[in-house]
């Protein structure tokens, strides 16, 4: 995919000033193949956000010329394909993370390649994403691959799915043709069970509806892609008020063994706090909480950070909590708003995404890591999701890049919530007992899978 670059001008003084202003963060992933123009879109976003610096542009332009791109044309994929094998084979192998900022927001873009190991890459990129942009070539419309991509984002419960219908310049911005593709995509999304997502007609190559809405699509009333990304709420900000508080304990801080230099030993003589990143919701001083596995309720008497105590804190802050009672807490303990902890269970009912060539099979003994706990598990595969028809078929094993349902018997009962309702606290990874490799990702979905 080629285009003619314009050298990014040095940011004006106002932009430099905005670069140092505090901004919110949005993480999003892009899915689609080279054919859909994904590399071009990523290159375009970085370019329009002035995130490509002169030496990178010069290097890419020089390489483009070596590869036979003439007249200063420019292969955007060279910006994103970071590995030697990728450049040599001209394909993107692995998820790459890109960074750019506008005046309003910082972005982390997980660029998920579409051809090779697409499920592994999409699940990886989407797992930390607030939004996913799925690219479709306007000329071909929704394809088998679109169905696969939408199925994965649907199963993973991505909050904001944006479908970018690309290459509309090649259709001369014809409203009727583009709206026909939109209808097709809406029908497909409905069939998969995905809420009607944001649909944006774009040309990544020419820049239509990327940074600003285009004069070529006056009939389109929605926002440009960057405008939309700038205004979507981040998952944590959006759910902090609704989700019950939960913190998975990483470690217990007891400075008696070694106090940070300069602190008063007397002041911290009896200090004990449980440290972790708030998984969901928010906590306030004086809140009543319950603790797994102790099964006891107590009160939060301190929310500490190295910067000083807080009155309240919300996901995804890393904090340390002091509790009113001396309760047995350690790594793997879970602290949650009283009355909200899911009943501990030893059987997961899960959707699983095996990644390796070996796949995942009934009877397989594995390790399961969720939150800050790792336990043993035995897998029973129950069905495979047919990605061509979006239906479930009975199965006893799954191959790499399949998606399916499984039950996982755990060696200890864990208070794992429904991923569909409560998000990442309901997620886990499956680890090989011998090699330690990550075999699969999984999400606990008891309602859909009982």
């Amino acid at each position: 995919m080629t285009t003619t670059p314009t050298t990014p001008a040095p940011n004006p003084a106002s932009a430099s000033q905005s670069a140092t202003q505090p901004k919110t963060l949005l993480r999003f992933a892009t899915a689609g193949s080279v054919d859909d123009g994904k590399s071009t879109l990523v290159g375009r976003l970085l370019h329009d956000a002035k995130a490509i610096l002169a030496d990178q542009l010069a290097a890419v332009t020089a390489t483009s010329r070596e590869r036979g791109f003439l007249g200063g044309e420019f292969d955007f994929a060279l910006l994103t394909d970071g590995l030697r094998a990728e450049r040599e084979q001209g394909i993107t192998i692995d998820v790459a993370y890109r960074y750019f900022a506008t005046d309003r927001r910082s972005f982390i873009l997980a660029d998920c390649p579409g051809h090779v190991q697409y499920t592994r890459n999409m699940v990886t990129g989407a797992s930390t994403a607030d939004a996913v942009v799925v690219l479709i070539d306007a000329r071909t419309g929704a394809t088998e691959q679109t169905r696969r991509h939408l199925t994965v984002v649907s199963r993973l419960g991505i909050r904001y799915v944006i479908i970018a219908i690309n290459k509309i310049d090649l259709l001369d911005f014809d409203r009727q043709t583009i709206e026909a593709v939109e209808d097709e995509v809406r029908t497909l999304a409905a069939e998969i069970g995905l809420e009607v997502p944001h649909l944006i007609p774009i040309s990544a190559l020419a820049g239509d509806n990327i940074a600003t809405t285009s004069a070529n699509t006056l009939w389109y009333e929605g926002p440009a892609l960057l405008e939309l990304l700038e205004t979507l709420p981040s998952t944590e900000a959006d759910t902090a008020d609704r989700e019950p508080f939960r913190l998975d304990v990483q470690t217990v801080l007891r400075p008696q063994g070694g106090l940070a230099p300069g602190l008063d030993a007397e002041e911290f003589r009896d200090y004990r706090a449980v440290a972790g990143q708030i998984t969901a919701g928010q906590v306030r001083l004086g809140d009543e909480v319950e603790i797994h596995p102790a099964g006891i309720r107590t009160t939060v008497t301190g929310i500490d950070t190295a910067d000083g105590p807080l009155d309240s804190a919300s996901a995804p802050l890393s904090v340390s909590l002091r509790l009113a009672d001396e309760i047995d807490t350690a790594r793997g303990s879970v602290i949650a708003a009283a009355g909200t902890l899911p009943p501990p269970r030893r059987d997961l009912r899960a959707e699983v995404f095996p990644f390796t060539a070996e796949g995942l099979r009934t009877g397989q003994r594995v390790l399961v890591k969720t939150g800050t706990t790792t336990v043993k598990g035995i897998v029973t595969i129950t069905s495979r999701r047919n990605l061509e028809t979006s239906t479930l078929e009975d199965a006893e094993e799954l191959a790499g890049n399949d998606i399916g349902l499984a039950q996982v018997r755990l060696s200890a009962a864990l208070p794992i919530p429904d991923f569909r309702v409560h998000g990442p606290a309901g997620a886990f990874v499956v680890i090989d007992l011998q090699t330690g490799n990550t075999l699969a990702a999984g999400i606990h979905t008891p309602e859909e899978n009982s």
């Binding site: 430099s16 990143q277 190295a306 807080l310």
Partner: protein
């Protein structure tokens, strides 16, 4: 900016952590800091013997600061490791030692010079010692029994780094295998490894250069003076300004002048150039970085100008 001798983590504190502030909107830096603290705590909890690779550069200084915040009020539960090429700026070595002492941490130093003295390594014809660091690093990791090694690498630095995991498994030769990396999902890091293998850990993977500078300014983190504009005797080579010194001597056709310069990255004197700059405080550095049109490595690192795959090849070989 002088070297801060007070061991408090953060005297001022970020706006979002001010006591009683009702506004819960977290900034990008709040989220990145929390992510890094989570990673550092995970690794400290799951590994036997972590160590923090500390060069005195701004990125490793940032990781050290985050480690201090992760365990406050307890001491950082691991030590520091430095590979001294023998071509370091003396200011950096001083800063390294003062910082280790200030945080009360053990410092292990592996010296490239020792390897050259006893013949295990040979000086390269071009004089750079950057690639010579790998062997002493791998030996120091094995000798120290370290199973996790924290580093300050960022994904925005380089295309190969953009593909590397936050927990990056290395084989017994220290090598990185980019085609068989474990997928990294949600905040569930898998640090399992076989005997002889170890894991490199990059807590600030998701920080950009500008994020690091904004964070240093917000937190008031002490940095070596080299980052701030100062007068220095320099000569021009390959479009960079080189400090005159034992390890970088001008050729006959190169003229030494006195200029006001600063360093964007801190590496060896023999492969790190300075840029002309009047930025003598964090505010002016921030303005400069925000307005820059050239990446930090492209601007001043001869070692990264070798080829498009320079970083990937070094990492496969055991480099950070």
């Amino acid at each position: 900016m002088s070297i801060d001798t007070i061991p408090t983590v953060n005297p001022t504190g970020p706006a979002s952590a001010t006591e009683g502030t009702p506004d819960r909107t977290l900034t990008s830096l709040d989220v990145l800091e929390s992510e890094a603290i989570h990673i550092i705590r995970e690794v400290a909890a799951e590994f036997e013997k972590p160590v923090l690779l500390f060069s005195g550069g701004k990125d490793s200084v940032t990781v050290l600061h985050l480690a201090a915040k992760a365990f406050w009020p307890a001491k950082i539960p691991f030590g520091l490791l430095h590979v001294d090429t023998g071509h370091n700026f003396p200011e950096i070595i001083r800063f390294r030692d003062e910082t280790a002492a200030r945080f009360g941490l053990d410092l292990t130093v592996a010296k490239v010079q020792d390897y050259i003295d006893d013949g295990r390594l040979r000086e390269r014809p071009d004089g750079t010692r950057n690639t010579l660091q790998t062997q002493p690093l791998i030996d120091a990791i094995a000798d120290g029994g370290f199973d996790a090694v924290f580093g300050g690498a960022r994904r925005d630095e380089d295309k190969a780094r953009a593909k590397e995991r936050i927990l990056s498994l290395r084989d017994e030769f220290g090598g990185w295998n980019p085609s068989s990396q474990r997928p990294e999902l949600w905040n569930l890091y898998n640090g399992r490894h076989l005997p002889g293998e170890h894991v490199r850990v990059f807590p600030i993977s998701n920080f950009t250069e500008l994020d690091v500078w904004n964070y240093i300014a917000r937190e008031g983190i002490a940095l070596p003076q080299l980052y701030f504009a100062h007068d220095r005797e320099v000569f021009s080579r390959d479009g960079m300004w080189w400090a005159t010194g034992e390890f970088s001597t001008p050729r006959e056709d190169e003229t030494v002048t006195r200029r006001t310069v600063r360093y964007r990255t801190v590496g060896d004197m023999s492969c790190t150039g300075a840029v002309e700059s009047d930025a003598d405080d964090l505010e002016s550095i921030l303005a400069e970085v925000a307005a820059t049109t050239v990446t930090e490595r492209g601007a001043t690192r001869a070692d990264d100008r070798i080829s498009a795959a320079a970083m990937e090849d070094r990492k496969k070989d055991g480099y950070f």
